[in-house]
Symmetry: C3
Subunit: 344 residues, 3 copies
């Protein structure tokens, strides 16, 4: 019997099943510094303990996407080792800031299954939670992936497709305890634009581009203990390139969005997202955003803004997205829909 992990196949999942993922992780100042080296991250609340304290927090939390990547990475050996495609995200919420020294582990509940008509694979829906060392959930999201069957003759399970919200209701956004933007320092944050300056429908070209290197995306992906082999093993492909972890593009695009959205400080919800096309080393990533919605919150000076974040390996100036056929343009890498918190 082999002792290595063959991963789960479609027929191994049952609705209601809860999987406790392996390898808890303590994250601290080192992960923060690496995040700043890997991405052009400049949001002040995640850069300065003083700035965060002035916003009512106990020092600067770990970047929201560090929490996401760590929680996500742990699910890979159980959820996506035999996945053919990462199909979507929904109902993602950040419930509590992750502070340096916190230890996270992940758990996923299977909430839906649907075998494909070809009988070779099926779609698995999981709700994943990141849990800290005192048992608090810090993050949750739904993800669905297409997973191969081990045995094509295995019976199809009963189809269960979960009802998922198209958008997290602003009333369900969790504002970190104590957060206040009442005495927010726009000058130190880097831009004067406040929540009230953004109009629904407004598009922002984030201008800057970053050309990606193999060493960088591998460092990042390993840091999150995401060991899916397509990201690391060049012998998988004739051109010696490695498929870049989709989360690397999320972080790169979010960091680039500082230029125009410097005050969209905290990510509180992930409404949806698609990795539109694969990205490889040598591609130059650019980003643009569209304001999809705005909502008030109960916290002092804190507004919520719903943003569409697009990453492209082409020019971002023309706001590329989909072609006349309704499909993503070939240069579009990411289409992400999230809520962030901003000073009003």
């Amino acid at each position: 019997m082999t002792k290595t992990n063959p991963g789960r196949f479609f027929e191994d999942y049952k609705v209601g099943q809860v999987i406790r993922h392996a390898v808890p992780r303590t994250i601290a100042e080192g992960e923060r510094a690496l995040y700043h080296a890997l991405y052009p991250a400049r949001h002040a609340l995640y850069s300065s303990d003083e700035f965060a304290a002035d916003c009512g927090l106990d020092g600067s939390p770990m970047d929201d996407l560090i929490a996401f990547h760590v929680v996500f990475g742990k699910t890979v050996p159980d959820i996506s080792l035999n996945a053919v495609a990462n199909l979507g995200y929904a109902e993602g919420r950040w419930l509590r800031p992750v502070m340096p020294g916190d230890t996270l582990h992940s758990e996923s509940e299977v909430i839906g299954l649907k075998q494909n008509s070809n009988g070779k694979s099926g779609v698995v829906y999981v709700r994943t939670r990141g849990v800290n060392q005192v048992g608090e959930t810090v993050l949750e999201y739904v993800r669905w992936v297409m997973v191969r069957k081990r045995d094509q003759d295995a019976d199809a399970p009963e189809t269960v497709i979960p009802e998922l919200a198209a958008v997290v209701d602003p009333a369900d956004l969790i504002i970190p305890e104590g957060l206040s933007f009442a005495s927010y320092d726009f000058e130190l944050a880097g831009e004067p634009h406040r929540w009230s300056d953004y109009a629904i429908g407004e598009k922002i070209d984030h201008v800057d581009g970053v050309t990606i290197e193999e060493a960088e995306h591998m460092l990042a992906t390993r840091l999150w203990q995401n060991t899916a082999k397509v990201h690391f093993d060049a012998t998988n492909r004739d051109d010696g390139k490695r498929l870049i972890y989709g989360g690397h593009i999320i972080s790169m695009a979010r960091a680039l969005s500082f230029n125009g959205l410097a005050n969209a400080q905290m990510i509180v919800a992930l409404n949806g997202g698609a990795h539109a096309n694969p990205c490889f080393a040598g591609d130059t990533v650019r980003a643009w955003s569209e304001v999809l919605d705005k909502a008030e919150t109960a916290a002092p000076g804190v507004g919520a803004i719903r943003l569409r974040l697009i990453a492209t390996k082409g020019d971002s100036a023309g706001f590329p997205l989909k072609g006349d056929d309704g499909k993503y343009l070939p240069e579009v890498l990411l289409d992400l829909d999230y809520w962030a918190l901003m000073p009003t």
Copy 2:
């Protein structure tokens, strides 16, 4: 109206103007570890808490050049986004060690302006200060850059050229509080050579070479939140290379200088510096130093040594510098003039 930062143009600067730069940054053990991974840094005082404590400090400070890069990086969006050239440095002084956990922000005062005769650009002189979380200045330096005009027809400002010291007077060097080299451990530091062993005019070839990779200089430059696009966007150039941040060469050369100057522990002043030629990935950096001056200090066993540090992408054995025409040789990358502290 665009929400992204277009940067300042020459006509946006006024003498006496003070710019408080964005994105304060807390720096800690993570940045230290990355510094040691990015550069062959071995000066013992910045490597070991115990060694630093034996020199009278409260543990090992962050490398002096970390402080410089962090402070410098914050000025880029306000000072050099539309700069054509980084022309010089003067009157740089380290006033206080930066310890892990400190939060820095930067402020610059415009101290000089001179429009070029072509009317297309001008020289801007700024005095930049790095300030910690309790308001203490940890570092200050003067830098001048050539900046494009937005509107070539804009009026030229009154020319103001600041009087800058060619060299920081040794009497003005700030010795960190408590510093003593009275019981300095030369064996642990790595070399037996003390201040009194170095002669003015002496040249030292630091022998070792490091070939630079794109991933490394981008990691470094992002770590200092320096987001000047020329360092990251390969589509800016036909050859797909990215111009390497001049500070990367400063740190690389300083680290290489350990081999021959292991006891030139702390940098206390930056007298001047020129980025003589651009550096690109694939270049192999070597360094040599010349002893320019020596001075005594009031601290126990502590001498000051003024060093010229040259980085080259060619051979360092012949001490390359300038040609018969008085211009830097094409292989010379950096010509830096600084004061360091050394056990007498």
Copy 3:
């Protein structure tokens, strides 16, 4: 007189000589995060403070190989700067976990010398110790290297070849104080296989591969302050490649061995090791292991397992090792023999 370090030559070593190596190093969370970014390291005891505490430790120690690399790196300027080959390791033992914030330095005693018959070089045997800030030895090992002579006419020293144990006796393994696997959480650790599930002679193909980049091995090697120039200077070779530090392969193979040996948590002894062939950027590293022996320990639920760890740049599925001529196959990079601790 040159001030740079020329390194020691064969005739500079005397049996009984003790060399205290330079540049002590404080290691902390930053080094841990970088280790996780550089290698696909997932052993839970080194990833989570909580997991480690549940095993009776005061939080998660630094990875055992971080301790090894830091201690080893310091010896390079004194032992292997003029080395022609790294010949072997023996009698390596980890004596005490290294915790974040500890400061290490290294000392080596020359325990053997043998001039080669060609008169051009000789073998130097050293016993190296890593010592922490309170003077405790955390690690010790014997290494022997072939070192060039400065002067071929220098007299040969008396030949002294130390008697070295082929394997560290299990009775001599040091179990970290307080360690207990009595309530070990196999689910969080990532695999169900316990000590009793492994049979002597069993081979495990670790399946995954990682393609190595120049930037990564240089970051790693610098992090350990190992500045041997062959790892950094591309102008040393016509193909512009740099010889990868053998320790990088050790860490890569050990991290890959998680897949099948997730519960071989702590390395406690290094019985021997050979860097069978050089590795260069572009190579894809895979690994396999063989169970060589097992032993009980006095600690609750803790067994010792002796493993042979092979790294290869070819396929690992066929367990490549040596050819009919008894020589390592050209694709084999590493043959390491170590003891690890595992839940029984």
